[in-house]
Symmetry: C2
Subunit: 480 residues, 2 copies
């Protein structure tokens, strides 16, 4: 396997794009001021949080409505030009890069919360609503939306990448929490998937097919998700360990015993150091688990006592409790800022993020060997993990101008993915494939399964206009 050379977007940029003056005029006529071809806007829409780069899209359309999306897609279809849905630009895998040119379809103005159905624990929003906005909107109902990928991503983007994050260990991922979607297909038709019922056995699961399809099968325009009652009691704790292994083995045991912990996040000592500096905290600079318990007061107490006992067996220091909401928010904000804390620790750097996920019993094997490899390579990195799910992220901090550093990071990533796949895990727990993991997906799923995915893509997007060049190659050529 030698996949990382294929990640460069240059490799997937096919021919120069058929973005003609005629198309531009048609877009101008339909969208007026909602169309921009200004370079600064195009450049802003042609990058994301990955370390990848590509020429910018040819135009940006700011959609206000499903009708706008449908019309933009119909024009793109007519002219055979790519459409790349864009939310807040927080992708880590190059999903938003216009590797074949075309139109970046900015959905951030579609930010209305459409229907809060508190009595059903569901909410329907436009695609551009962000998770923080959503939680603000439903706060007064006593409900919340748990999925939390760190970034304040849009719901549409979170669907498209099958996002998860810190709460997934208890509440599941977008896969489990999306009930229904409105989608604009590649022909510009508006369809609905799913219903308001909690479960259904009626027909193919188009909702789950769209969730994780990374904009390659259609544009998600409305999202209905499940909400949960705010727990009666919440408590968060920080616990330091003598080693990463002790923290990981504590986590494994907690999960194997079925303790319904709501969050259990690993942060390694070096990353704690970066976080302390960035967020002005004074956490012990040792491997740490950051945990949260949800339930009734007695249930939370039971869970916390059980976890403390396990952690003690692995030599953990005493728990430090964050009892007030403010303290909890401060801790979780610091956790979410680990990425920025790391980036700031090496000025001008970019992070190449890994995203492997393995079954809980193999987490220690997968993680510890990769720590040893990264330490040996000498590249600075941060390490955080949704370890309750077997998912963790190295962020190798590279100078984007240094081919050697990039190559070292990609080699480490490659070794880690190979290890996870050998353990029957996945190359991506939550970030998606995008440009960066096309080769890895092929290794993971096998050519037969990728051929099935490709057949679906060809059937639903015969002109290959929906975010082309992502997940797998169109013709089975360049990803083989």
């Amino acid at each position: 396997m030698n996949r990382f050379n294929e990640c460069a977007p240059e490799a997937t940029r096919a021919t120069s794009v058929a973005f003609s003056a005629t198309l531009q005029l048609a877009l101008q006529t339909r969208f007026g001021a909602k169309l921009s071809t200004a370079l600064v806007l195009r450049e802003q829409h042609g990058r994301d949080e990955s370390a990848l780069a590509a020429p910018p899209p040819d135009a940006v359309v700011f959609a206000d409505s499903t009708q706008d999306v449908a019309d933009a897609v119909r024009l793109a279809s007519e002219f055979g030009v790519p459409v790349i849905p864009f939310g807040v630009g927080s992708s880590l895998e190059g999903h938003l890069l216009a590797v074949q040119g075309g139109i970046s379809l900015d959905l951030s103005r579609m930010n209305q919360v459409l229907r809060i159905n508190a009595e059903d624990l569901t909410v329907t929003v436009q695609t551009g609503v962000t998770r923080k906005q959503l939680n603000e909107a439903v706060k007064s109902t006593g409900l919340f939306f748990p999925i939390d990928p760190g970034a304040d991503a849009t719901l549409g983007g979170m669907c498209a990448t099958r996002a998860s994050g810190t709460n997934a260990v208890r509440y599941g991922t977008m896969r489990e929490n999306v009930l229904a979607l409105q989608v604009v297909t590649a022909s510009g038709e508006v369809i609905h998937t799913g219903t308001r019922a909690k479960k259904s056995a009626a027909g193919y699961d188009l909702t789950r097919l769209m969730v994780g399809s990374e904009g390659t099968l259609g544009v998600i325009t409305e999202v209905t998700v499940r909400l949960y009652p705010l727990p009666e009691a919440i408590s968060a704790a920080v616990c330091s360990f003598p080693s990463i292994e002790a923290a990981v083995r504590t986590t494994i045991q907690v999960i194997q015993l079925g303790i319904p912990i709501a969050r259990v996040e690993l942060i390694d000592a070096n990353t704690v150091r970066m976080v302390n500096r960035h967020s002005h905290l004074s956490l012990r600079e040792e491997p740490m688990l950051l945990m949260e318990f949800h339930g009734s007061p007695s249930g939370v107490k039971e869970q916390a006592e059980a976890v403390q006992e396990i952690a003690g067996e692995f030599g953990a220091q005493a728990f430090e409790w964050a009892s007030t909401p403010e303290e909890r928010t401060r801790l979780w904000t610091a956790r979410h800022n680990a990425y920025f804390a790391a980036i700031q620790s090496k000025p001008g750097c970019r992070a190449i993020s890994t995203d492997t996920c393995v079954q809980i019993s193999r987490l220690a094997d997968c993680l510890l060997d990769s720590v040893a490899e990264a330490d040996a390579a000498g590249l600075p990195y941060f390490l955080v993990g949704h370890v309750g799910d077997g998912n963790f992220h190295f962020g190798y901090l590279i100078d984007p101008e240094s081919p050697l550093e990039r190559e070292t990071a990609e080699r480490l990533n490659h070794q880690l993915v190979a290890r996870a796949l050998a353990l029957e895990g996945t190359c991506s727990g939550e970030h998606g494939v995008g440009l960066h993991k096309m080769g890895f997906l092929l290794d993971e799923a096998g050519p037969g399964a990728v051929a099935v995915m490709r057949a679906i893509k060809h059937a639903l997007d015969p002109k290959n206009i929906m975010n082309p060049g992502k997940i797998f190659s169109w013709d089975g050529g360049s990803d083989l």
Copy 2:
């Protein structure tokens, strides 16, 4: 809408089948004694628990292995002949009927439990393993598989119909609990979907596409599902109510408060009567909720107290607790036998089952009006419901020889589905579409979404050999 006339399998039997002597010879050569064309076996494989009928398949192949399945599918593909996967025959929607002839592929001999990964709370089984067999196999590990559709169905069949049942209110359905599959595609290729990791964002969710595809996209040959630790404490209770409405409103409030009840089943007074007679019980012959609570001893106590308080507000009688495992088993067996109890109450009858599911806030509206309609129609029926999920089943008991009774039952079903769809619910919570709900699916999903399903079917099964004539029509004709 006037859909129920389209449910007759005659309507979907296209032309007589190309099951030639050459194909039979080829099957004979490959499968020897594993091939049967005996009428009794063909008839047994040409029906299910629905009230539908069709001519039997042309042959039955008993597969022992994935290789057998692949070879059978390859021969069917070569000769352009349908393949209908068959487990234990417990479908309620005509999934197993050979409406276009062809080969019934009996998978019941593929009944090996392949890998119990207790430390990861997962198990991998061959497709023909039944849920009771699975639970027997994992019992010594302290884990269990919760999905319980009543019938002792095969895991493959449960995947194919996206089954759920009594525990789904707490543990989810097959949609949430299948991690990975091995599938034989329509060309006879073996692919794997998913991994052993708990979550993944790598590529299209082929697992979820296969779950619920009713054998129309491939044959599921291996299944990896999640297991759960056996709860520390379990308690079950029976509670009688002055009316169905009181029982339903109790359920609604329990769900809205987020009480993690493990099972909450409605049985109406008349069905309790049938169950008492069939299972020699003496339950109060009033509308009843049959409940189960899982958790720590204190957690179970908390849940039960909360539910008792709510039930009391709706005029419920005192709870009767089933404290021993034997008592619980007796109660749940009686519940699962409600179908047979009902069938026996009217000798020679068949049941036409409904399967609507709506969001919890509209459950009372949907259910109570349908009870009134059924009572007015005068046809005997049973009524049971996984009411915590908003899902319930009428079983209208008809004399299969009476067109009038069938028409009355279908009219009631039609009215109920129309009501559920108007409330934005689904025509099928767990039984699937099969033959019986093709028109309803079209009403529910709309022609655009069904066209997307059809495009996927055409892409993955271009010769239309995988359980053809189910879910939707091949050409968009007869289901419009």
